[in-house]
Symmetry: C2
Subunit: 213 residues, 2 copies
DNA sequence: CCTACCGATCGGTAGG
DNA sequence: CCTACCGATCGGTAGG
């Protein structure tokens, strides 16, 4: 009688669940090894299938990258909205602070998503429609808070897009500096979150209208 | 008589000038094709030499990457100091604005340098000393302006490093969003610089002490 | 600074 | 979803 070897991980995939497993594998490669570590073959190996299997679910490498990025945008949007829901204040500056906290928290928890979205891995010449929509939805959450704050007179500093872009730039820049390990190494995760919170408050004050300060 | 072919580019290199040519070639690859387009072989080909030649000047690929990054830090420092020299105001908020303009202007003009410095191309586990020093010098320019502004009472918002990090994060985040083409494509270069300038003023107001607003 | 070579990895396809 | 194969590219070394 033949010795029964342990089931291979591949046996666990069916009905297209391999697709999500490959997304997770790609994300893990990005998080641990950076953009250069992401390949279809490595993702397939991590998922326990042959290197030809991914082509049953993704037309090419770009398709996998886009799928990861789209999921990243969706989760980022959820993270920001969750933080917004937890914020009991109704004034725009504090709601902006909550958004920033959500963004930074998500970035530090899931660096792979930010690398694939912003790290130049995506081919921008021909982005799939779903990815554009997901990105727009994430931006609209921020823009909505800013626009309402400007209308209510709680914020100032320019048109909605300029102010929103300023907020986005700061939390995004801080997130990327943390992820890219550009900050001194003695700044640990806990300190990063603390500095992030302080910075977000600073920005909230900066865009607040002078009369309300 | 043998036909005399046109001189190969390789004939132009001597006395170690190939080293700088390889740095420039690597920079061009990074600027045009992103982090994934940088390889020792491609850089050698761009410089017109065999793929083994670079090893006469760089121990391995990491050494070339570090050399590009170090030069990037030096030029970034120069760009910030030049903009600071052109700033005729003495108050910290406006000097911070000049620094930010210098940073964004350099980033948009030389995206390859920022990609190699912050794009996760460098192996952070064992950075050469020269690179660390160059990075520290660039940061010190910013930190100096912030620290003097806090001492003079022109700025507020926290300790020097937190305020400096907030400023750095914003201009860095905006620069990366522009470079990574994460902004809508209808935002052209000119608009980017205009929005950048507006954003920098916004931040300058944000970190200004309330009494001086 | 060159040619020639090494092993490894990659994206992708053929054919089942 | 598999094995087997393709051409291309990579970092790096031997030897001159």
């Amino acid at each position: 009688m033949a010795i029964r070897v342990a089931r291979k991980p591949s046996d666990a995939y069916q009905h297209g669940s391999l697709r999500q497993a490959l997304v997770q594998a790609g994300l893990k490669l990005l998080s641990e090894g950076g953009a250069g570590a992401l390949s279809l073959r490595a993702a397939a190996q991590l998922a326990g299938v042959s290197h030809a299997a991914p082509y049953r679910h993704f037309r090419d490498k770009d398709a996998l990258v886009s799928a990861i990025a789209e999921q990243g945008f969706l989760l980022l949007t959820e993270a920001m909205q969750a933080e917004l829901g937890r914020c009991r204040h109704e004034d725009a500056p504090r709601r902006l602070g909550a958004l920033g906290q959500g963004y930074i928290g998500f970035a530090l928890a899931h660096p792979g998503y930010l690398r694939v979205i912003f790290g130049g891995v995506i081919d921008k010449t021909n982005p799939p429609e779903g990815l554009l929509i997901a990105g727009q939805r994430a931006y609209d959450v921020l823009r909505g808070v800013v626009a309402r704050g400007l209308e209510a007179g709680e914020l100032s500093g320019g048109d909605p897009d300029t102010v929103a872009l300023a907020c986005w730039s700061m939390v995004h820049g801080f997130s990327m500096l943390c992820i890219d390990q550009a900050l001194p190494s003695f700044v640990d995760r806990k300190t990063q979150l603390k500095i992030g919170a302080q910075m977000v408050r600073l920005l909230a004050v900066g865009v607040q209208t002078p009369a309300k300060r």
